[in-house]
Symmetry: C2
Subunit: 905 residues, 2 copies
């Protein structure tokens, strides 16, 4: 085969890899090499590249084995040489861990197998060497437990019944043994117990899986390597990649590393830490540890871990011993390493370490996940500390993370009066309320029905992600700040409390027992994720008080940003929120909004008369009735956005959308129109369309019923005229939707100009400033943008419709196959969420170029929902738009995306 | 104002214009100038350019008058000088005609006013000069009749009640006078009668229109000029332009020319002629004339005219005197002129002439309209005669005209037994049957309901065009071969009989009295337009026998043609017809056709089971049931097209299109599927889509239900394999519809390749030739054609859907505004009929370029309905497609369009 290098060794301060080889070695492998090069204590090992993972899927296991064999053996020899121990050696055996590591962290989504190389022969050598038989037997039973689950069951594709997995069955044997011995904790079992357990485990494995547990160390190693590759396509991993948008073809690397043991007694320990607080951003070393334990004990949230140091103790863990106090010299070594790493990486890091008989080993370091609040604070702090520059600070926050800072908190006034029913670790800040659900499935189902839910779990595991996604917040009875629930919730900026040990969950009865009483499925609770408090009932929520970090960060954003950001706002309330978040005008005001919802009954009734009338005269009369409502509505929005542009779109939806479905409403309409109900129904039937999205709507209505456009234009210009008379500075922009042909614009512009002259006379004014423009939402309009720009002073891209037309995907109907398209990798993302640069984007580019060729000072915006999506905002910046427009809560997100796009250029 | 020249004089063999100035001077003005330059006898005159017409509409009458005044006066002086007579002179007055003339002939659609300059003073001078008072009074009453109609009523925008127009009212006065005098023909009225009539007319005009008839010659002239400009936007003209696709902004020129009189006695005459027979193409001078008449008498079809010469007499006019016999020397002069003109113009010409006291004057010459049959024959004859070359011959036939040669004739066997009920002039060849209707409105309404109708009229006038369009054929009681009905019908290739003088029409009773009996509205008759025979009842029709001219012409077409022409054919019958017309394969075979219509009940029932089943297993079972039907169907079409490519499209429509609406069918389905009717209805509801055109259809179904694609592909490949075993040469092309993304193609190709391997094994074959390709019918697919071509060996443009998506026009719903878009000039043509080169065309061009960049030997076709539309075919040639595909009857049309495109290059 090819001469390509697939295995990269590290250890002894010399490494073949480095942090910049993340794509090839995965985050874990690359950073182990980097730490090794930095002189930090790293157990020696080697990493098999992600390319081998791809080959695993294209060439198959057998071929890959042939390819890798020599290199892996060479890597093993490298470890053996450094440690002076041999893999499979009866006297001085080397044990290794086999771990996954993708380009980006996918916490808990793939597999790890520890203690590989242990069997009945090597364990004797290890007992002799460590003089610690209990530890050795414990290691062996852990190997069997993990290996049988990961390699023999999962990688083999066996799907056991719920709760009957080999892991649970072996777990049950452990519990049984503890019961027999009358003990509560694993630690209370002695060497002989564990030795017996190893035999019990092996028998169980043979019984359940029909195969003996393999004793050959090399077989263990190879099968473990392949199982890790296989886990790249495990259900959890695939599902996580979908949500996070990680490409399926990246693959995972595999790192094989000499085992070090945190479970060799009270002078051993294991821990994880963040170089700064990942929930608040505070510049404090922050972590958790457990003596006499292996890494999984901390990460999996099975035991509540101890705090790393005194300064970060909370009221919930202040009684537990810190590493700082327990092993001060090791802690100091760790603090030094923290400082070296932060200075080297210039970022907050998430590290894993193990202390084996008072010797510190670094097992992992990676850039740490943080929530939005923390990301903003860290970026600004590191900027102040001189670690990074302004541009880097800007790039440190994912635009979407700002969302977290804009979301509600519990109202302290409401909290003061509320009943606390449980306490836990504040794993995800913010406030939320919702109805209790106990399973991931229920969370998804209830949320789909529009319920706000809180997912309450003993602990979460990677199988729960869909439910965690669907829930308003997450509450777990076990687990620490670095448990699965905490990591995932923080990644998404979700309110989350973990380790609420004062609650007990009865999954059968679907109830939660707290010191304050029993709460059942469907009961309402509220969470303060910043303090870790659980309340009974639904508390009030409030907007986040003006966070000074947020304000400072947005100043930095505005300093680099080129693209303007407007808002899509139909109501004064929305417009006010958007202004608070720094919107620079309204990019989309939909005139039709006034017909929806409360307060719209009267205008809607008049509109219905207009639609169902067959006589122009009748229509004109009704339009006169409607006029004051429309003018009032437009005047309000222009007034709130005083001095800023407001793009007002003329009527857009197909007319039949406004027709009542129910008989009573139809009867009163018929009466008003003085026609029979049969005739009314006939007219309604005539309005029916097979494909309304491509039917008689938008400008098409404005052309067939010019009096409708006329009324709207008059309302806009009269509203503006009146505001000017009142000393205001309105900036209306009249926008025509659904245009495809220049003559449509010409036709509507004639109406605008006619009405303009009339309104000027009526108000005795020389000028009423306004602009005239069009949506670009139909492929033809994009292609003929040079023609459209003859009449339009501005374009606003309607990327929702443009995506519909470009793909021929009906947004209302795409649900019937979109998920399958994503699952089958037909598409990489939902084009209604992210602009497809390859098609919709190309049409936009064409429209920009051609539009500007006719009118160099053409204003260019976007008002589709993509306007608040970071990748799409970046694209809008790249093609030279003037502004994006998005929903009020997306304004800061769009601004950051715009600034990052400018910085990246 | 500008120095632009607006008036061009001619006369005395010197002319400022010429034939190549048609755009400026209109056809009439340009050709008068040309004939003048050729030395033919043309009364002097001048032409006001079409640009002045445009100015009439932009600047208004008053401004235009200022602009034109000097030039028109100069033109008048020019005529006066040549003729030695003065406009308005009491002693030797000059009279002029004022005629319209657009770039292309619009017969009868605009206005003409004759005898301008006559009043009570000038008539005395003219009487003295001609010594023919009867002629002078007759001319004066004609002037009043035309002028009051055209200028005072129509141009003024007065809309009288039906039958109460000033023209009819004056006509009635004429009839009244004839009754009083006890005479039948106008000619029997003497000078005094006509003098009296002039006074009666003037009184009537004043009474009805409230204004006196103007006596001032200059006022008459100017008002007449403006009335002609005004008539450009008359209802008839606008309607005609819509049908013929003539741009509204061309405008008409106005020609003012010295009057010559065919009505000065028996040595005067007027006539029209074609240099060859416009109905058959025969190389014979062909025309009609009337002694002592003005041109309108012949053209308007009021009097049945005489045959021009002996050779072209028919059994219906053999008793009438020919010009050849009556005035042999004039006839010979006309024959010489005919020869000069044909040699000069190298085309068949339509000429108008007037003989004033044995002096021949040429009043018009233009390229003559002809039907398809005649066009083909003339082109080939002139080619043989050396008048034109092959390329010119090809360009002489409008592709759409071939349609006429492909349409049915009456079956002679059926004719032999049928009852002839009337005879007339064979104005439009071919055969047709239909129900009698007597008004244009009825024709339109009945035809809209799907009835075949024959429009039977006394004579037709331009108001009748919509009804003529809607009718299968036209039958008139009066009028000659150059009457309005005859001209229009020939232009459209419609079967037409005119001057059937043995029928009498009673419009009140809606019945037609013939020698054979009375026929009422709704009675079925048949017409032989080639012979001029009307039959009772519905006769059989047959395909035209193989016309040798057609065959020869198609050989010429094939010689120059580059583009291949295939057919869209779903049935063996269609495929056979197409092959007869020279189709070079099937460009679109729709698998779904088998579920429609008779014989499709069983397959449709199975398909419904597939669609409504929720279990893959159940679906697979039903697919197995369906398989033999599909294979059989495909095998049939491959066999008929043996040796030629057949593009088979996999299932395209949204699945719910196949769901039964009626309850019985649903109940039997529920029973078969073993579910309740409620459950069935639920499943149907789930299939409902808001915009099915953009929904779950085409490849999207093939991806979500791969087993459906698999079954179809297996049917195609097995059918091909079996045919090969039978010694045939099948060339299947598998085409995937509704694709937008390369991965969709990749996915379907994997299925194809898998099935291919299986079928090869089943039939023990090494190879089964097939191609794999895709429709390009969604904008994204066009834009990403480079990606699509990675998997597709061919593209077929689905321009129906591509137009839908590019315009966001739903074809099913566009009716609600499309007509208004055409009427308001928002669009110039229906983009579903003609490819919009500006948008859909650009996407096609992009797709061709990008597709070829990936796969230089990519096959490119079109299977949308545009594939048979000449302008679209031309475009397909221009962008380098391999073939077009169209309905069988369009194959020759597409071929000619393709050849013309090649020739024009």
């Amino acid at each position: 085969m090819e001469k390509k290098k697939r295995v990269y060794v590290f250890g002894n301060k010399k490494a073949e890899g480095a942090a910049n080889l993340k794509d090839l070695l995965g985050g874990k492998g690359a950073n182990l090499a980097e730490m090794d090069l930095l002189g930090l204590p790293v157990p020696p090992g080697f990493t098999i590249s992600t390319e081998a993972c791809t080959e695993y899927y294209t060439l198959g296991k057998e071929k890959l084995f042939e390819i890798l064999k020599n290199e892996v053996e060479h890597g093993l020899k490298h470890i053996e040489t450094i440690l002076g121990a041999d893999f499979g050696d009866p006297d001085n055996p080397l044990l290794v861990s086999v771990r996954s590591g993708a380009r980006v962290s996918m916490p808990g989504m793939m597999e790890t197998i520890l203690n590989v190389g242990l069997n009945d022969i090597t364990r004797e050598g290890l007992i002799k060497k460590t003089n610690n038989p209990r530890f050795v037997y414990d290691s062996q039973r852990r190997l069997i437990q993990m290996y049988s689950d990961v390699v023999m069951e999962k990688a083999a594709g066996i799907e056991p019944e719920e709760g009957k997995g080999i892991r649970q069955l072996l777990e049950a044997e452990l519990e049984k043994l503890k019961e027999q011995k009358g003990v509560k904790e694993d630690i209370e079992l002695d060497a002989e117990d564990l030795k017996k357990l190893v035999d019990i485990y092996r028998a169980k494995v043979l019984e359940v899986l029909g195969k003996p547990f393999p004793e050959d160390p090399m077989e263990q190693l190879w099968c473990a390597i392949f199982a890790v590759f296989q886990s790249w396509n495990g259900k959890r991993a695939v599902s996580y990649r979908r949500i996070e948008g990680i490409p399926d073809d990246w693959g995972t690397a595999v790192t094989v590393q000499a085992m070090v043991f945190g479970n060799m007694g009270e002078d051993s320990a294991t821990g994880v830490a963040f170089t700064r607080n990942p929930a608040t951003g505070e510049n404090m070393f922050y972590g958790e540890w457990l003596p006499n334990a292996q890494g999984e004990d901390v990460v999996a949230g099975i035991r509540t871990p101890y705090p790393l140091n005194e300064a970060t103790k909370t009221e919930y863990n202040k009684h537990l011993p810190s590493l700082e106090k327990t092993m001060p010299e090791i802690y100091q070594q760790l603090v030094d390493i923290r400082n070296i790493l932060e200075k080297h990486y210039r970022d907050m890091l998430d590290i894993e370490f193990t202390i084996q008989e008072r010797h510190l080993w670094m097992l992992q370091c990676r850039v740490g996940k943080r929530n939005g609040t923390a990301a903003v604070r860290m970026a600004l702090d590191m900027l102040n500390e001189g670690l990074i520059d302004e541009k880097t600070a800007l790039l440190r926050v994912k635009p979407i993370q700002l969302d977290e800072m804009l979301h509600p908190l519990l109202d302290p006034a409401s909290e003061a009066k509320a009943k606390v029913i449980a306490h836990g670790l504040p794993a995800g800040p913010g406030g939320a309320y919702g109805k209790i659900v106990f399973t991931s499935n229920d969370a998804v189902e209830w949320a789909a029905k529009g319920e706000k839910v809180i997912l309450v779990r003993e602990e979460t595991n990677p199988e729960d992600i869909d439910g965690m996604r669907a829930a308003e917040a997450i509450l777990t009875a076990r687990g620490g700040m670095t448990s699965h629930a905490a990591l995932v919730a923080r990644g998404w900026g979700k309110c989350c409390i973990v380790g609420a040990s004062d609650i007990e969950i009865n999954l059968q009865k679907k109830e939660m027992i707290t010191p304050a009483g029993i709460y059942k499925e469907g009961d309402m609770i509220s969470l303060n994720g910043t303090k870790g408090l659980v309340y009974e009932g639904q508390l009030d929520t409030i907007s986040p008080s003006e966070n000074p970090y947020f304000i400072k960060f947005m100043d930095l954003v505005d300093k680099y940003r080129v693209l303007k950001v407007r808002t899509n706002a139909d109501t004064p309330q929305d417009a006010k929120i958007a202004l608070k978040f720094g919107a620079e005008g309204t990019g989309l005001f939909r005139t039709e909004h006034m017909f929806y919802g409360k307060g719209g009954e009267t205008p809607l009734f008049i509109l219905r008369k207009i639609i169902l009338s067959t006589k122009e005269e009748e229509r004109r009369k009704s339009l006169d009735e409607l006029f004051p409502f429309v003018k009032e509505d437009i005047k309000n929005t222009l007034e709130i956005m005083d001095g800023l542009p407001v793009t007002i779109r003329t009527l857009d939806p197909p007319l039949h959308e406004f027709i009542p479905k129910n008989q009573n409403a139809r009867e009163s309409l018929a009466k008003e129109l003085n026609i029979t109900i049969e005739e009314l129904n006939n007219r309604v039937d005539q309005l029916h369309e097979n494909n309304p999205m491509m039917g008689h709507r938008g400008v098409r209505v404005g052309i067939t019923y010019p009096e409708i456009t006329e009324m709207q234009v008059r309302a806009i210009l009269e509203a503006a005229a009146e505001l000017i008379k009142e000393g205001k500075n309105p900036k209306p922009e009249i926008m025509i939707p659904v245009t495809a042909i220049e003559t449509e614009l010409q036709n509507q512009l004639e109406i605008v100009e006619k009405v303009y002259e009339e309104v000027k006379i009526k108000y005795n004014m020389n000028e009423i400033p306004y602009e005239f423009g069009t949506m670009i939402e139909i492929p033809r309009a994009a292609l003929r943008a040079d023609d459209m720009a003859k009449y339009a002073q501005f374009f606003s891209f309607g990327t929702n419709d443009l995506t519909q037309m470009t793909y021929a995907f009906s947004r209302d109907d795409v649900g019937s196959f979109l998920q399958e398209y994503l699952d089958k990798n037909i598409i990489k993302f939902d084009p209604f969420q992210i602009i497809d640069r390859d098609s919709v984007g190309e049409l936009m580019k064409i429209a920009v170029e051609r539009g500007k060729s006719t009118r160099p000072d053409l204003h260019l915006g976007i008002c589709g929902e993509h306007g608040g999506e970071p990748s799409s905002v970046e694209f809008c910046h790249m093609i030279g738009l003037t502004y994006v427009s998005c929903s009020p809560f997306r304004v800061p997100i769009a601004k950051l995306a715009a600034a990052q796009a400018a910085v990246k250029e």
